[in-house]
Symmetry: C2
């Protein structure tokens, strides 16, 4: 359906540039890494960044699936007509100055959509940062590559989206796709949810929303999609101040948050409170779904166990009552100072082997639906930086009984390697108790909904 | 009063070791960087890490202010007696296995306190990670140095405290002191609040609390101290599950959270919900206090402005109504697509000069009590990584009218340099809208309380 936005055979960049100060420079530079054909269109230059340029998209001797339009505003309309005549399927319009600029801009924006539909084209944008697909290795944006992962992230704020991509590179959080939707003149949240529901690379859909235009259609599609794939939404403009700010940002009224919240609930969309919340919840879905809400916590430090128990409780999850047998077996190898009641506090001396044995016993306990494995500062006494993570991974692989496992590795850069290892094995590794709490909640809430169906 | 714990003239490490697998190795290694005299005590070795060792603390030919005790549990009592006879003033007992181990351990712990008091000594610990003072450059712990800063951080969980120190190194957040209080057999939260109230290097006191032993005294001291210096507390064990987990961690009942919350409120302690919240609030106090709750937001991206407005609203702050004059002046140099109503959206093209001019106008507006300056992804179009931060700093220095300024630089590692620059100038630079919201709240709440007095 919208494949041509993510895995096009060929791409034309209208406004590709040799001037590093222009967005058309960055976009073409980013696209050069793509496996398919990428053609620069520039009315003045013979070559762009060493690649033969064309004056017009229509001059390209082959078919073009996707056009990225980054020409000045006054040329956008003609550029789009050219694309239509060329038979382009999708156009990403980066150029700003349309619907967000008031009535005149809105009129011009509608005109663009009419042109596109006349030629059977779809538009993402205008006024957006572009589209990125980490699996097809296509970066049709002017920002850096996101890390490859399984979360499809759709953002109605371009700069915020870019900021999140940059933040997540540092935090080793991966996306399947990043889609900056801009003014959503044509392709909107509903279209993208529908498309992403069928995308095997995307295990969850994360939405940053300022305002939805066609609420009824959003809800219809969300209701359908959320039955097979989790949708998590962060709605900005919750407060009156925020809503006013959003209105001056997008030019459209953001609407009462209570209405949005009710609509999300009814259509099975999970609600995030913050950006970290949005990402934490979306990232959880590399894991299988839990059969219930009973969580076991294992930790090498009491404090984080307590904070995590607080967060789970806040989110409606329960601490599992471990079977006597499990506690007895834990007692056999854990030191006397350890606590074998849930949360299981293996204390600071716990090594990789203890993580392995404890995780195994907890996963095998019938009273446990989900495991949260916590580790803090595993550096002293000759421990390796990754042995605790390795212990968890080994247990999960061995037991392999379909229970979700979330990790909380809290010591900043000290546990970076361990988190990387867990992520590589598909176990989401968080840094903050509230993030792992949100993640556990998302899995449980989606499972509950899914099991009802 | 408790100076000898933070700026001792001389330190003895009982249990200093040559064995890298022992805590006494790390502690002595860390202390070697300290300016004062540091003596290793080891019954078997002639030298420890190249420094002449003594068999007993009493053999040291000079006075000893502070002792760090990390000998095996069965030797702790005698080590403490030796310290008392030597005239040591303060003892940090790292060794675990006392009050947290049940009745017998509690009895032994009480005995330690009796010994200490008999000799006029005070004890921090036992069962703790130690004490760090970044200003005197003393690290009497077995963990890495924290970054130097102005927040005094007191943690009842050693591993969590260590995890936070590691996390904050990465995030460029600084502490004046880190104090792991362990079992609080003697020196407790109250003693430390009283001491830190007089410490010029500490602008705020951050507490991670699992349970307070003498609630009445805690409240009395907190009430007094919080009138001159902000105290921010994160109480773990809020929920029933969390409280149960805390109880199995510290061996003492954590008590109902509602009671704690009421006590905090009554004694002027600001309540944090998460670790990030605790740190965000505490870090804000490098800034002057606001005269009211009216906040101006400036941003180069709409989305973060909206999210921040939401967070401020949630925390009871207001968006300032800018004076007509201010908006007119902003209109003169900002592009037509910019929004000059609060939040002021300077849009993505805003450069350092725009940040300078806008910050100046907003600080000069009488309707504004506090400024939040937001920046996202300032890399394209030949911008330098720090020009936006420089613009803010220049405006603050020029206007210099005592209004607090908080920064929100959201693009992960892309804005790392800018955040460093702001922090160096004493402007707290946050990464998440909720953190800057908490910070603004803390300043306003503390100011409100202070102005009443």
């Amino acid at each position: 359906m919208l494949d041509y936005f993510f895995t096009p055979k060929s791409i034309a960049v209208l406004g590709a540039s040799n001037d590093p100060l222009k967005l058309g420079y960055e976009i073409f530079k980013n696209l050069k890494g793509y496996g398919g054909k990428v053609y620069p269109i520039n009315i003045k230059e013979e070559t762009v960044q060493g690649v033969k340029a064309y004056k017009n998209v229509k001059d390209i001797p082959e078919n073009v699936d996707l056009a990225v339009i980054v020409v000045p505003r006054r040329f956008v309309k003609q550029a789009l007509i050219d694309c239509g005549e060329k038979g382009v399927k999708g156009a990403i319009i980066i150029t700003a100055g349309f619907g967000e600029m008031g009535e005149e801009g809105k009129r011009e924006e509608r005109e663009l959509v009419e042109i596109a539909h006349k030629y059977g084209m779809r538009i993402i944008g205008p006024n957006c940062v572009g589209v990125m697909d980490t699996h097809s290795n296509m970066n049709a944006t002017f920002i850096m590559n996101a890390k490859k992962g399984s979360v499809a992230f759709v953002s109605q704020s371009g700069a915020l989206g870019a900021g999140i991509v940059y933040k997540t590179i540092k935090e080793d959080i991966g996306f399947s796709k990043f889609i900056s939707v801009g003014n959503m003149a044509d392709v909107d949240f509903a279209d993208l949810m529908e498309y992403l529901a069928e995308d095997n690379n995307s295990k969850a859909i994360a939405l940053y929303i300022e305002g939805v235009k066609n609420g009824k259609r959003f809800m219809e599609i969300a209701k359908k999609v959320s039955k097979k794939k989790p949708i998590i939404a962060l709605k900005a403009g919750k407060s009156e101040s925020g809503a006013r700010a959003a209105s001056s940002h997008t030019g459209s009224l953001a609407g009462s948050y209570a209405i949005y919240e009710a609509a999300f609930m009814q259509s099975g969309v999970l609600v995030a409170e913050t950006i970290d919340d949005l990402l934490s919840m979306a990232r959880a879905f590399t894991q299988p779904l839990p059969k219930g809400k009973k969580v076991a916590i294992m930790t090498n430090a009491g404090g984080p166990g307590v904070l995590t128990a607080d967060q789970l409780d806040k989110r409606g999850l329960k601490l599992a009552n471990l079977k006597e047998e499990t506690m007895e077996k834990l007692r056999e190898f854990l030191p006397p100072m350890a606590a074998v009641k849930n949360p299981v506090d293996m204390i600071a001396s716990a090594r990789g082997e203890d993580y392995y044995k404890t995780a195994k016993l907890l996963l095998e306990d019938d009273n446990v639906d989900m495991l949260v494995a916590i580790c803090v500062v595993p550096t002293f006494a000759g421990m390796t930086p990754t042995e605790h993570a390795e212990g968890i991974v080994k247990a999960v692989k061995e037991v392999n009984n379909g229970k979700p496992v979330l990790a909380l590795f809290m010591a900043g850069y000290v546990s970076e390697k361990a988190r990387e290892l867990l992520e590589k094995e598909g176990i989401p590794a968080y840094e903050r108790p509230e993030d792992v709490g949100s993640a556990a909640y998302a899995l449980a809430a989606f499972a509950e909904r899914n099991l009802e169906v």
